[in-house]
Amino acid sequence: MIEIQARLKRKHFELDASLQLNQRVTAIFGPSGAGKSTLLSIIAGITQPDSGRIVIDGECLLDSQARINKPIHQRKIGLVFQDGRLFPHLTVERNLSYALNFTPVQNQQFQLKQIVELLEIGHLLKQRPHQLSGGEKQRVALGRALLSSPRLLMLDEPLASLDDRLKSQILPFLKLVSDEINIPMIYISHSKEEIMQITDNLVDIQFGKVNCQL
């Protein structure tokens, strides 16, 4: 179960979120500027809300009243960004294994080999990120996030910068991951059509306001 409460006030934007998610896969939907990405970066610990509380499966990551605020690297939240964010100086293989560095072997949920097979990226291992297509980059980014053994996987518009042909390189794998891998997932998108292919659990965010139990 994921419990999120967050308030954030900026000059031209206000976020007021209260969410309780009981489904394993949830999509957060809303037009651009509605606060989807801000909400994600608050959950990940990148942005600090004015006040808030985030609890995932009983573990508190943020509680502004109790002055608990875990830094990004201790939250164990796997992120897949719109632009992939692969490390350009490392091969695909070393991008993937980078994520294994921070979890003791006995706590690792996946092996490199497993993920490579699942996402069909074996032929890319020796390549550098700049040699990959957009869809391939996103598959590697997804694999890297999974290999960090996250307690929650968050995907921020992972298809937004891809054309239809490239989307077809990643969408089936997103479905595969959401169907077969037992990690809670939050999927953020402005496209309802795209979300419907992943999940029916939809949270609507409008003008920075969201209040939902699912």
Binding site: D83, R85, F87, P88, H89, A99, H130, A145
Partner: protein, 236 residues
């Protein structure tokens, strides 16, 4: 004709001294300069613009000014220097180590500028991605930020090295012009221009200086190219 290329032992020792000072100079400033560059590129804090200006001061001052300040500060009668001298029997003034310090002060801003530019061009998003995978910020610095800014840091190193080889004003003010101790290439050239019949020896050292500078630039270009390739960046 080729006789001009046969350098005398005294010329060789001038060259060796210059290289030694320049080498120690870049070793001395490398870590502090990268640290200051990172702070300036990534942090915002009270007094940042003051730090920024202080770092850049040697670039805009006449070199004799930092040289004189060094003398006041680290000279044998200086504010700090007298303790070094009286307690540890260690003196910087009029020694080659002092020449290292003088050229380090002058080269520091060049190193910081290059490294800072390189660090600020590293995509913060990559650093956040690394943190989200579980990497401590310090680990992120060494595995992501530093390798990705390496081309700029190398450029800075070569710039600092060359600046140190060419250092004149601060050096002559702080450590004088002592043969085999502080008389580097530019100082030796200057010395020859001050004596009768010194033109030819001066010219020989000028040729040496030019060869050295050219060599440094070519090595820099090659290293930078390599470093760019290793981080997956390509340009013509």
């Amino acid at each position: 004709m080729l006789d001009i290329l046969r350098f005398t032992p005294s010329e060789i020792s001038i060259l060796a001294l210059s290289l030694k000072i320049a080498l120690f100079c870049v070793v001395l400033i490398l870590v502090p300069a990268v640290l200051v560059a990172w702070v300036l590129a990534r942090k915002s804090f009270f007094g940042k613009s003051l730090l920024d200006s202080l770092v850049h001061l040697p670039l805009v001052l006449p070199p004799v000014v930092p040289g004189f300040l060094l003398l006041l500060l680290l000279g044998n009668q200086g504010l700090i220097g007298k303790y070094l001298h009286n307690i540890f029997g260690f003196s910087l003034a009029f020694t080659w180590i002092g020449a290292v310090v003088a050229s380090a002060v002058m080269a520091f801003p060049l190193m910081v500028r290059s490294a800072r530019l390189a660090i600020s061009q590293v995509d913060k998003g990559l650093e956040i991605a690394a943190q989200s995978l579980g990497a401590h910020p310090l680990k992120v610095f060494f595995t992501i930020t530093l390798p990705l800014s390496m081309p700029g840091i190398i450029t800075g190193l070569i710039l600092a090295f060359s600046r140190s080889l060419g250092e004149f004003g601060a050096t002559i003010t702080f450590v004088g012009n002592i043969e085999n101790e502080t008389r580097t290439l530019p100082l030796a050239i200057y010395t020859y221009t001050q004596i009768p019949d010194g033109d030819l020896p001066a010219l020989r050292l000028v040729i040496l200086s030019m060869a050295l500078a050219l060599g440094a630039l070519m090595i820099s270009d090659r290293l930078e190219r390599k470093a760019n390739q290793s981080i997956g960046r390509h340009h013509d």
